[in-house]
């Protein structure tokens, strides 16, 4: 089957019920997308499908319609997305394992809602678990990215 990921078209020969997460990680080698729980409880595997934040562990690859964007396609160290730049500026990460998913959820939120309230942020981000407890910095970075994007 054919899959568009981060602007590239891939042909993959896998079971249609393989979760997108594992196709990305094991078949395409896109490892910025993380496995945390496999049941859509932690958000580490969050990607965008046509801009919508999606838990790739619960998304059968055979059902994917639209373009997939991962953390590796959102921006790169040399061409950062505003959310990534804010994450660096605020030094959000500790272990960093959840941050791919946090950033993808934050980017999707800001694309839809450029001026989220604290409650909007809690609602959009509470599906992304951080075991290190970086939530205060995630809030700060997200607000900072919102400001940057609004003035862009």
């Amino acid at each position: 089957m054919r899959l568009t990921v981060d602007g590239k078209i891939h042909e993959v020969d896998v079971e249609p019920d393989m979760p997108l997460l594992w196709v990305l990680r094991d078949e395409l080698g896109i490892t910025g997308v993380k496995y945390g729980c496999g049941i859509a409880q932690c958000g580490a595997c969050t990607v965008h499908i046509d801009g919508v934040a999606t838990r790739s562990c619960q998304q059968w690859v055979g059902d994917v319609e639209g373009e997939v964007t991962t953390i590796n396609g959102l921006g790169t160290p040399d061409a950062l997305h505003a959310v990534q730049a804010a994450w660096i500026e605020h030094q959000v990460a500790q272990c960093g394992y959840c941050q791919s998913g946090q950033i993808m959820s934050a980017a999707a939120l800001l694309a839809e809602n450029p001026s989220p309230s604290d409650e909007d942020i809690d609602d959009a981000m509470s599906g992304n678990l951080c075991r290190c407890g970086t939530y205060p910095r995630i809030r700060e970075a997200l607000k900072s990215a919102a400001t940057t994007l609004r003035s862009a």
Binding site: R25, Q94, Y97, Q99, M125, S126, N128
Partner: protein, 747 residues
């Protein structure tokens, strides 16, 4: 805690060794040198300056042997070396190095090793105290006990300074300019005429130069890096999905393995039928391993699916089947026979209690808790005829060498461990079951790298959780003051559970049973803290702050009950009782930060707690509101005394993270057992804290103390008690058992 001070002040020596094509500067020495692990693979023209600095034609590599599990250990170790070496962090490579005895965690390990060897017991209580309070483990390359900064603060700067001064001597010989006229900056020696000699070009010239000793480390006023906000070395990678963790690592030709363990942790496999699994796409083999079966496949998900399809018959858990029986075992442990320690016995508790009729009594409970780092544990192992290689995130690389060596039947020194980045640990990676199981598979398919990845369910239900613990207190108040506080704590020994799995016997008392309780800075006239050794129950392991994680709650919660009975203010009475100037300052700091002026009122409440753990006095004030939907945590104020805040950014992040970790579990989490099987196996049943519950947290680092201390664990112990105190103030409900959501709702 006093022992830590003694040992960390021990002098370090830097020696030198000549090698082919260059020179290596002597390993860090305590009494005798350990072989420098960098010498083995040095090429021509390369030199290693101490085990912490390596310079070759490509530039400077800083060796950071303490594992980075998210706490920023690589950055802080690199910064300490760079401070004296005069290199910038963006111009060096950072390498955790290979496991080596040269990276012993301070002289402590040397002391401990005398008392602890396979089959030997520890007869000396003092020696055991050293082990259990700081390291728990023999002299090996361990990351734990919030020791990375205390261990490295002098040693790593000294390594940087010796390397710098030796390079200056080489530059002086080369240029004819006196050493005193040379300066160093950004990885180069600068001559007065402006010429710049890079460290890389000077490195081969150091071959015959004796490294200068007794170099005075720079005073704090000259620090370029320490104490100033730093950018973590991994922050860009971790913000762009380009940081590779253990679970992302690939080795040519590797196969993917999944595991299905007896759901009753450590119980045996009786029988299995893999017929269905073997028919599934991509499945190569299904083989038994200790405690379960492993599926080998061409993809992680296929291996997971096939593991689920294996039919297995399991034996019973080697511990009581129900959680009620575990609590029963603790309840029955408060006996003279099971008394493990009585490290504090001030005044006379018995006489005081006999003389008075006014007695406060209570019982407290802390449940088993999983570490549950977000990256499920994993390891890659390849075993060849005479050697083996391991790629994994670990806090115990030397144990892994031994254990893989045993399974492969080879010398542990021929086991190479590549330390990879970890997606959290919280103590989970002080265990190495995943590596042993990967090795059991790999030994059956020599030459093929086997990557074993746990599913979340297997990981969380076989997590080696935090100890279950119970406390009983009684006390007396008189004239509005706390007069008598008698606290007994019962738990199984974490140290024994952990060390027996590594093949060591550990007789003697276990100071973790009373850590965070017996050594608190309060001068109560009659004060006793007794540890009781419960029998070993479910297998347990060190969980961020270990014994203090439960005892910080017990101690402060009990003290709060007495203060309330006395009609006193929780902060004022703590200040009155406080016997340590550093502790007083942290209490005063959180008082000032929170504007503490007694009762909040209007359905709001505040609580305070202070715990000294790992040498750090850490105080927290928590404010809550009692809303229609439940308790809302409004604000947390934290002050901690660490001597020197090495990186204010990371300090702030670690303190906030520690508070969130502690509160999330205190509010929402427990591991319980039914039929010997953990009832929780994923984040739907073990939530921790999510963003909507996260309060605003204000942090202050105090630098009054002489000792430089680590902050990874100390914010954890006081948090639950401060929250319970706040909830009591807001609602009148006294919470004595975690998780608190069994008794109140949180919003």
């Amino acid at each position: 805690m006093g022992r830590l001070k003694t040992f960390s002040r021990r002098a370090f020596l830097i020696g030198s060794v000549t090698v082919a094509g260059g020179v290596a500067f002597g390993a860090y020495m305590v009494r005798k040198p350990h072989a420098n692990p960098l010498l083995a693979d040095l090429g021509d023209g390369e030199a290693a300056l101490t085990p912490y600095v390596r310079i070759d034609a490509d530039g400077v590599t800083l060796i950071t042997p303490r594992a980075d599990k998210g706490q920023g250990a690589y950055s802080v170790q690199a910064a300490l070396i760079a401070e004296e070496l005069d290199v910038e962090l963006d111009q060096v490579k950072i390498d955790p190095g290979s496991p080596s005895a040269a990276y012993w965690n301070t002289a402590l390990a040397d002391e401990a090793a005398q008392f602890m060897a396979p089959g030997d017991g520890i007869s000396n209580d003092a020696a055991y105290g050293v082990l259990s309070s700081v390291m728990k483990l023999i002299g090996m390359q361990i990351t734990g006990g919030s020791t990375t900064v205390p261990d490295g603060f002098v040693k790593l700067r000294q390594a940087g300074a010796v390397a710098r001064e030796t390079l200056k001597l080489a530059a002086s010989q080369k240029s004819g300019v006196a050493v005193g006229e040379l300066k160093t900056k950004a990885g180069a020696v600068l001559l007065p005429d402006g010429t710049s000699l890079s460290y890389a070009e000077l490195a081969p010239l150091t071959a015959d130069i004796e490294p200068p000793q007794d170099i005075e480390l720079r005073p704090a006023s000259e620090w370029r890096l320490i104490g100033k906000p730093m950018q973590r070395v991994d922050i860009i990678a971790k913000s762009t999905g380009t940081q590779s963790y253990g679970i992302d690592h690939k080795v040519d030709g590797m196969v993917h393995a999944a595991i299905k363990l007896n759901p009753a942790q450590s119980g045996p496999l009786v029988n299995f039928d893999a017929a269905e699994a073997l028919k599934m796409r991509g499945v190569k083999d299904v083989i038994p391993v200790t405690g379960g079966i492993a599926v080998i496949a061409d993809n992680t998900w296929r291996a997971f699916q096939a593991a689920e399809a294996v039919e297995a018959e399991w034996g019973p858990a080697p511990f009581p089947a129900t959680i009620d029986e575990h609590w029963g075992a603790l309840s029955a442990s408060f006996t003279e026979d099971l008394q493990d320690s009585r490290k504090r016995d001030d005044g006379d508790v018995e006489i005081s209690i006999a003389e008075t009729g006014e007695l406060v009594k209570a019982e407290y409970r802390a449940p088993y808790l999983a570490h549950a780092p977000l990256e499920p544990i994993n390891a890659i192992v390849r075993i060849d005829d005479d050697s083996a290689e391991v790629w994994t995130g670990t806090q115990i690389p030397r144990f892994i060498q031994n254990n893989v060596g045993k399974i492969a039947g080879i010398d542990p020194e021929n086991v190479t461990v590549h330390a990879l980045y970890m997606g959290g640990s919280f103590g989970h990676r002080l265990e190495d079951e995943v590596v042993k199981q990967a090795a059991e598979i790999a030994v059956q398919m020599k030459g093929t790298p086997v990557k074993l990845t746990y599913s979340r369910e297997e990981d969380l239900s076989h997590d080696f959780p935090r100890q279950i613990a119970m406390a009983r207190m009684r006390g007396v108040v008189r004239n509005g003051q706390v007069e008598t506080y008698d606290l007994g704590i019962a738990m199984p020994s974490v140290v024994v559970s952990q060390m027996v799995r590594q093949g060591f016997s550990v007789p003697g008392s276990d100071s973790q049973i009373v850590a965070g309780a017996w050594d608190q800075p309060f001068a109560i006239p009659n004060h006793r803290v007794t540890g009781y050794r419960a029998p070993e129950l479910a297998p347990i392991s060190s969980w961020r702050s270990v014994g203090a994680s439960s005892n910080g709650f017990f101690y402060n919660a009990g003290l709060d009950e007495l203060i309330h009975a006395a009609g006193a203010d929780p902060l004022e009475e703590r200040l009155r009782l406080c016997s340590n100037p550093e502790a007083r300052k942290v209490l005063e700091a959180v008082g000032e930060m929170s504007g503490w002026d007694g009762v909040l009122g209007n359905g709001r409440g505040r609580g305070v707690a202070l715990t000294q753990s790992f040498g750090v006095h850490c105080a927290e004030v928590i404010e809550v509101s009692n809303t229609e939907d439940g308790i809302k945590i409004d604000k947390v104020y934290v002050a901690a005394e660490v001597g020197t805040v090495v990186d204010p950014v990371n300090f702030d992040n670690l303190v906030k993270g520690g508070v969130i970790f502690a509160l999330g579990h205190a509010m929402n989490c427990e591991i319980t057992y039914t039929d010997g099987i953990a009832d929780q196996n994923n984040f739907d049943s073990f939530q921790g804290m999510r963003m909507y519950q996260c309060p605003e947290i204000e942090v202050r680092g105090l630098e009054n103390g002489e000792r430089v201390l680590g902050i990874g664990e100390p914010p954890v112990p006081p948090a639950a008690a401060a929250l319970a105190g706040a909830i009591f103030a807001a609602t009148g409900t006294r919470l004595r058992e975690m998780p608190f959501n069994k008794f109140v709702d949180f919003v």
